[in-house]
Amino acid sequence: MLKINVLKYYKELEESIYRLLELINTIECYSPYDQTKDILKQILKSETKVTSTSHIYEVKNKKTNIKEAYLKAYKDFKKNFKFMEFHKEIIKENEYIKQIFKEYNQESLLITRLLESFFYVIEEYEELIQSDEDTDTMIRFFSSVENCIDKTYNTSSAIHSFLKTLEDEESNQLLETEEKIELKLLNVEYNLAEFSEILTSINNAYSSISILYKDVTINNLKIVSLESGSLHSILIGDKSLIDLLKKC
């Protein structure tokens, strides 16, 4: 695939993952997860009896009705969560991603797995609405949501950093007449004024020797990468001038 198409392909996927992230976050907004954690804490603080086959939790504080708390949280969530809309959007994104795969003749296992986790959330929800009072199903559903959120964040950041690398490579492409200089000033911390002074010094040095080319127009010095802290910069300028500036 041509590099320009690779960029387009991943950009389209990235947009779709952002939309998926927004969708799954809508569940997180209404999720009783925090409450679930509180309830779990209460369970852990309580006495635990171990039999040969299972753990039995015995909550000391009789006032805490775990099941009721779960049910209340679930009812609140169900009232706010628009499942049909969520379902419809997931189907739409799934179709869109498949179309991207087809168009670019590519496939990404990472994204296929991500979509699977969204469909798993849907399956868990369908099971959950059939058994309103089953707390185990409820815990399973919200765990699947958490898992899906983690996967979406991870996929999104992986695609984002891959795209950034591609874009950096793109911006570092040199013309035949150009040369690159990578300059780092180490073991120092600069404030904004000092930082700008240093950049001005580099630019002034470049401009002053470019005057030697009397009748030729020389491209200005371009900054293609810049990191603050001390200073790490990648600059591109006329090949002969950059050679003279650095190597000699």
Partner: protein, 106 residues
Amino acid sequence: MLIKIADLIYKKITLEGKIKLNSEIMNTILNDTEIIASIEKMGIDTEESKENIKAALNKATKELCSLVSKAPAIEVDDINLSVNLDNQKYLEFSNKLLDTKTEDKK
């Protein structure tokens, strides 16, 4: 130029505890055969444009000296240049060339 200037500035700090005067560095750069050869390679007649070259190099040298003096170490592409840390004690005493052993005796 940048590598030569950094080398001159950092080496001078190491050996004498003070930064070499810009004018000394400018003279070194102006008389550097490698730099002159590089300018000739750019298609510039170094004999005809002597004054222009001098002015351009002086200005560039001044800017690069100011840049290098702002950090104890620089890296140009993969070449790393820095003030020799073993002798950096000299810097603490401004232009006096004291070493730590003499200080201890006092």
